[in-house]
Symmetry: D2
Subunit: 91 residues, 4 copies
Amino acid sequence: MRCCVRTSCGKRLSRIEGQVRGIARMLEDDRYCIDVVTQISAVRAALKRVEEEILKDHVSTCVETAIQSGDKDEQRRKVGELVATLGKMRA
Amino acid sequence: MRCCVRTSCGKRLSRIEGQVRGIARMLEDDRYCIDVVTQISAVRAALKRVEEEILKDHVSTCVETAIQSGDKDEQRRKVGELVATLGKMRA
Amino acid sequence: MRCCVRTSCGKRLSRIEGQVRGIARMLEDDRYCIDVVTQISAVRAALKRVEEEILKDHVSTCVETAIQSGDKDEQRRKVGELVATLGKMRA
Amino acid sequence: MRCCVRTSCGKRLSRIEGQVRGIARMLEDDRYCIDVVTQISAVRAALKRVEEEILKDHVSTCVETAIQSGDKDEQRRKVGELVATLGKMRA
C-alpha cells in the first residue's frame, strides 16, 4: 500500500475510533436510540470509504505489479481475491 | 433503552473500538491490503449487529410506549423515524 | 394501496418486465457479460424504487388506519411487519 | 459467456419475468402491500444470483483470456471493469 494511502486511512481510522468511543458515551448518557443508530450508520459509511480507498490503491499497486510481472497464476490469484473481497463488501 | 441492552451494546462497542485500533496497526505494519479490507468488513458487520440490537429494543420500548399512550401524533413520529432509520441502514 | 400508487407501480413493473425480456435477448445475442450485468443492476434498482413507493404508501394508508383505529395489537403487528420487511430489503 | 451459463441464466430470467408479471397481478388484485414488497425482494434476490453467475463465468472466460493473452492493457481494462461492476452491485 502506498505510504500516502496508509497515512490518509490511518487518520480516518483514528477519527472513526473516536466516533465509536463517542457512541459508547451516548449509550452511557442514555441518549435516544434513533440518534445512536444514526451515528453508527455514519461510522459504517466512513469505514466503507476507507475500504474503497484501500481497494482502489490495491488495484493500482499490487494488482498492477501482478500484471507487470506477467505471472499468470499471480494474476489469477489477484483477480480471485478482488472478486471475493468485493463480494463480501456487498453485505 | 433498557439497561441490559446498553450494557451489552457498550461491551460490543468497546470490542469494536479495539478492532479499529488493530486495523490502524495493520496499516502501520504495512499488512496486505486485502487482509486490512477483510478486517474492516468484519467491523462493519459488527456495527450492523449493534444497530439491529438497539432497533429491536427501540421497538419494544419507545415504540411500545407510544402505542400504549394512544397518542396518534407520537405514534406517527415513531413510525416515520423507524422507516427513515431502516432506510439509511440499507446503505 | 391507493389506486394511483397501484397504477404507477403497475406501469413501472411492466417496464421492468420488458427490461428483463431485453436482458434475456442480450444473452441470446451473446452480448458482453459486463453489459448484461450492468442491465441487471439497473433492473434491481428499478425494483427497489417500486418497493419504496409501495412502502411509503403503506405507511400513510394501512399503518395510518391502524393508528386511527387505536387498536394496540394491530399497531404492534404493523410496526413488526415494517421492521421485518425493511430488514429484508437490506439484503 | 459459456453456452451452458447463457442457457441457465436464460431460464432464470424467464422465471423472473413470470414473477414480475405475477407481482403486477397482485397489484391489480389489490393484494396486501407487505406481501407485494416481499415478492419484489425475492425477485431482486433472484436477479442478484443471475448477476453472480454471469460474473463468475466472466472471470473464468473473458478475464482468463486476457490473462492468457499477456496483453497488459487488456488485463487492466478487465480488472477495472470488474471493480466498477462489483462496486455498482453493492447498491
